[in-house]
């Protein structure tokens, strides 16, 4: 059972090939177009609702800070799922990572924090791998157990080691952060543009400024990991073998691939990435401490980002950006701005309606139109969303994304399928 069920393809034997999927543009072009579209929507919304915070540099910075842990967990999800292993335990591995990061940070600064975060997350990965790969335990059950264990172990170790230092069993003392970079003059110039409040230009300026001011090495690390994931998984021998384990492990076995080994490595890498995500979380918090419950289900949101990204690094980056943005907006401004997001949703829905009409998909267009009307009514009827729901905006958006996106996805074909050596035909 995989995370999302895909419609079955043509039955074997009916020898007509399935209709070709036309890819008119290469991946990076679609990505670029997507960014342009998003910026336009945000700019329009910002202008029409009078909420500059939507595209301000502080929002962007928050997006980065909050999006990084999600991105890293999403990447961890990709590594695991591409080898056919569902990793629900990312949350637990991230928790272990936050603890490891705090511990490392106390003893050796931010770099050791990142390293130990990865190590601790990887340990969680090892446990998951042993249970699921060697013993064939249901992936999801094992993941749930790892989440329980991760939380328990972190709490335990925290009481043992942090409490004497911070007098609080729940928190660690603050650790040293990374030094941040700023693009100096460029950043100031963008700041000027931003404050001028000119349509589109200021928006772009604001968003860009957020990306080049007070940039933490964590962002660079994360981007490098995204690129590395892409190259390793899609352009290397190891990656090919790993992906084959997730697509057809029996075929891979018959060709001499050591499926168990690749699954192990994938899950451990997955845990390590979640651990780095935990480190990012700790280093990005203020104060930069380990705190009980700070992960707040971000591991699961990372999985949602991965599904949103169709199990690809670029898409996951986009998904993490989306979820990070929702989180970041709330932090940087307040309920009124999040309220304005409803308006953005209306615009997006409207665009969707037009596109579907263009493709002559009447029902989908009608549904999107109804959705747009409902959201607009909500926007109009309320001045602000209740504050109690704000911390859960990412979760609500995740649900919406999952509901809408499920149909067009291609998870790895053998994702979640239990595999035992020698069970081939």
């Amino acid at each position: 059972m995989s995370m999302v069920e895909v419609q079955p393809s043509t039955p074997a034997g009916m020898t007509m090939a399935p209709p070709p999927r036309r890819r008119i543009l290469p991946g990076w072009a679609i990505f670029a177009l997507g960014i342009v579209a998003v910026v336009l929507v945000l700019a329009t919304t910002s202008y029409l609702t009078g909420e500059p915070a939507l595209t301000s540099s502080s929002t962007m910075q928050n997006t980065v800070t909050l999006g990084l842990p999600i991105l890293l967990c999403g990447l961890g999800g990709i590594w695991a799922e591409r080898s056919g292993m569902i990793n629900i335990g990312l949350e637990g591995m991230m928790i272990l990572g936050t603890w490891g990061a705090a511990f490392g940070g106390l003893h050796g600064g931010p770099w050791l924090a990142v390293l130990l975060g990865a190590v601790f997350g990887a340990l969680g990965g090892v446990l998951h791998a042993i249970a699921t790969v060697t013993y064939g335990v249901n992936h999801i059950v094992s993941g749930v157990a790892i989440n329980l264990l991760g939380a328990g172990v972190a709490k335990y170790l925290s009481t043992l080691i942090f409490e004497p230092l911070s007098d609080n069993p729940r928190d660690s003392p603050p650790i040293e952060r990374f030094d941040t970079f700023s693009a100096g003059g460029f950043s100031d110039w963008l700041g000027d543009l931003e404050s001028q409040q000119r349509v589109v230009i200021s928006d772009v300026a604001g968003l860009t400024r957020g990306l080049v001011t007070r940039v933490s090495p964590m962002l660079i690390i994360a981007i490098l990991l995204v690129i590395a994931t892409y190259f390793v998984l899609w352009h290397s021998r190891f990656g090919l073998r790993l992906r084959s384990c997730g697509e057809n492990p029996i075929a891979a076995e018959s060709l001499g691939v050591n499926v168990y080994l690749h699954k192990y490595l994938a899950v451990i890498a997955s845990g390590a990435l979640a651990g780095v995500g935990g480190a990012a979380l700790v280093l990005g918090s203020s104060p930069s401490i380990y705190s009980e419950g700070q992960t707040a289900n971000r591991g699961f949101i990372g999985l949602a980002a991965m599904i949103f990204g169709n199990w690809r690094p670029g898409g996951t980056l986009a998904g993490a950006g989306l979820f990070g943005y929702a989180d970041g907006l709330r932090l940087s401004s307040g309920p009124e701005t999040v309220h304005a997001l409803l308006y953005a949703a209306v615009i997006t829905a409207g665009a969707l309606v037009i596109w579907q009409l263009f493709r002559r998909k009447w029902t989908t267009a009608a549904l999107a139109a109804v959705g747009a009307v409902v959201v607009y009514a909500l926007y109009y009827a309320t001045d602000e969303l209740p504050t109690e729901f704000l911390p859960y905006t990412p979760h609500i958006i995740t649900l919406v994304v999952l509901a809408l996106a499920a149909q067009r996805l291609r998870p790895p074909a053998a994702d979640g399928v239990p595999y035992r050596r020698g069970e081939g035909d």
């Binding site: 074997a12 034997g13 009916m14 020898t15 007509m16 090939a17 352009h235 081939g424």
Partner: protein, 532 residues
């Protein structure tokens, strides 16, 4: 049986050293001996066929040759040198490649990726690999961009990719496991042409099949296996299909012939204009009409994948028809769900009992309840009657000769034949008016097969209507009162079991049959089972 070693009739000079020689191969599993003292010798540059029934041991033998299993006894020689394979990699290194019956391809990966997987060290995974694939692709008749995703390929092209995989790794000896099982006739011809060309280039083929007419068309020599041992090796030019079949099965072929007609006038099943479509709108079932009367067995003949499974599942209500009607004894069941259809009196023997007929981990009496959870004796209203289920299961075990130590064992512990007998016993116990039997003796040993035929015949004599789908043409001809041939979702011919031969049906099934004005198949009057 005769053990004939035939002189090669090929014109090329006969090398003394065979490409592959298996001697004395024995392999045991817990409770069963799969191979016993098997001898096989394949000459270089020949197409050598390995024939045998289901369960005869062909697959196990090939797994041993390909390194997937070690033999318990015996030797393997390749090009005269004795070898021991610990894994498929060793076999590949020795120049042996295997094209599995069920393709081992990853749909979401490209042709290139599928081919180089596991052999990345040979030509890398980039330009050099691409070039090598282009070179070899011509040999197998594959003409497309290696960056194509495999999911876009049709069945015949996928098979070519499988052969390509094998050649890429330097195989000179290629094992083909039931390669024609999923091909339509034109594709079979193309495949055989490819094999002939490659044979001329020096490749050696080991061809596993139980389709005797095809085997005779392509093979240079045929080795027959029965119950785990070699029966003999023959020259296809000197034996008939019938003789081969008898070598495969041993004594007299069991003959399911039915003599007296018990067909009545009462219509039990009527299907009108039944249509089923894929999500893209293509028809899987194209406006089908059929009628089955009480006491009649209607057989459906066709190459697998032409809609038979879909037809059966639509009549059972597992798939939702896009159009048309299904009537049982006058009642319109078109909108009814599977449970309602079963309750109306349909019994169903699915083609894959492990996936559709049984709960493998559950005891036999729990399996008795499956499908009957709303009826006596297994249930009373909303509650189950476990005692009743147990009692009836014991009855079935006895009446249908299901060999089992008890009714508390899990269904998975029974052999295939006994599992099938249990299913049939269950499906006949609800006193159905219609029995849908899909490949009822697939994977069943010969003794159980005869028993199953008897049960079907008895039920038919008692007035049961039977819809029979089978790939075993002898079974179909022997049991049916009338036959319809199905091709690409349509009925293309009717046939008279009393006069039609398997060859005639084979023609019709592959689109080469000729029908008269009333749709009846024009049969070839040659009574002998010789080369068509």
């Amino acid at each position: 049986m005769t053990d004939t070693d035939v002189d090669p009739a090929t014109t090329s000079d006969t090398p003394a050293v065979p490409a592959v020689a298996l001697a004395g191969i024995t392999k045991r599993f817990p409770g069963v001996v799969a191979n016993s003292d098997v001898h096989l010798s394949v000459r270089v540059g020949e197409v050598h066929a390995l024939c045998g029934e289901n369960g005869a041991g062909k697959s196990t033998l090939m797994k041993i040759l390909y390194g997937m299993q070690p033999p318990d006894e015996g030797t393997i020689e390749v090009d005269g040198k004795q070898v021991r394979f610990k894994s498929p990699s060793d076999a590949i290194r020795a120049g042996i490649g295997m094209v599995h019956q069920h393709f081992m391809l990853a749909d979401n990966l490209t042709v290139l990726e599928n081919v180089v997987l596991g052999a990345e060290g040979m030509y890398g995974i980039g330009k050099r690999a691409r070039a090598r694939i282009r070179d070899l692709a011509g040999a197998v008749g594959l003409d497309l961009d290696p960056s194509t995703l495999v999911e876009r390929l049709g069945v015949a092209d996928r098979q070519r990719v499988e052969i390509l995989k094998v050649l890429y790794r330097g195989a000179k000896i290629v094992i083909l496991d039931e390669p024609t099982a999923v091909l339509v006739p034109q594709e079979v011809d193309e495949l055989f042409d490819t094999l002939r060309t490659m044979r001329a280039d020096g490749y050696t083929f080991l061809f596993i099949s139980h389709k005797l007419d095809e085997v005779r068309a392509i093979a240079d020599s045929i080795t027959v296996i029965r119950r785990g041992t070699t029966v003999g090796t023959v020259d296809p030019k000197t034996v008939t299909s019938r003789q081969l079949a008898e070598m495969m099965v041993g004594s007299e072929l069991p003959s399911p012939e039915t003599r007296t007609s018990t067909v009545t006038d009462k219509e039990i099943l009527r299907v009108d204009g039944l249509t089923l479509r894929t999500p893209d709108g293509r028809p899987l079932l194209d406006s089908l009409d059929l009628v089955v009367h009480s006491g009649e067995v209607l057989g459906i003949a066709g190459v697998e994948g032409n809609g038979q499974t879909e037809l059966v599942e639509t009549i059972m209500g597992i798939r939702k028809a896009a159009g048309g009607k299904v009537l049982l004894d006058g009642r319109d069941l078109t909108k009814a769900g599977t449970l309602a259809r079963r309750e109306a009196g349909i019994g169903y023997i699915p083609e894959d009992r492990t996936r559709h007929g049984l709960l493998l981990t559950q005891p036999l009496w729990a399996n008795r309840i499956l499908g009957y959870q709303t009826r006596r004796p297994t249930s009373r209203g909303a509650f189950l009657d476990v005692a009743g289920a147990r009692k009836d299961t014991r009855r079935i075990v006895e009446e249908f000769d299901v060999r089992t130590p008890g009714i508390e064992v899990a269904a998975a512990s029974l052999s295939g034949g006994n599992q099938q007998k249990l299913v049939i016993g269950r499906e006949l116990s609800g006193e159905p008016v219609l029995l849908i039997a899909s490949h009822p003796t697939r994977g069943v040993d010969v003794g159980a097969q005869a028993a199953i035929w008897d049960h079907i015949r008895n039920a038919r004599a008692a007035g049961l209507a039977v819809l029979l789908v089978s790939a075993d043409l002898d079974e179909l001809i022997g049991l049916s009162d009338s036959i319809k041939v199905m091709l690409r979702g349509k009925f293309v011919a009717d046939a008279e079991p009393s006069s039609v031969t398997p060859e005639d049906l084979g023609c019709a099934m592959t689109g080469a049959g000729v029908v008269d004005d009333s749709g009846l198949l024009v049969t070839d009057q040659t009574a002998d089972g010789g080369t068509p």
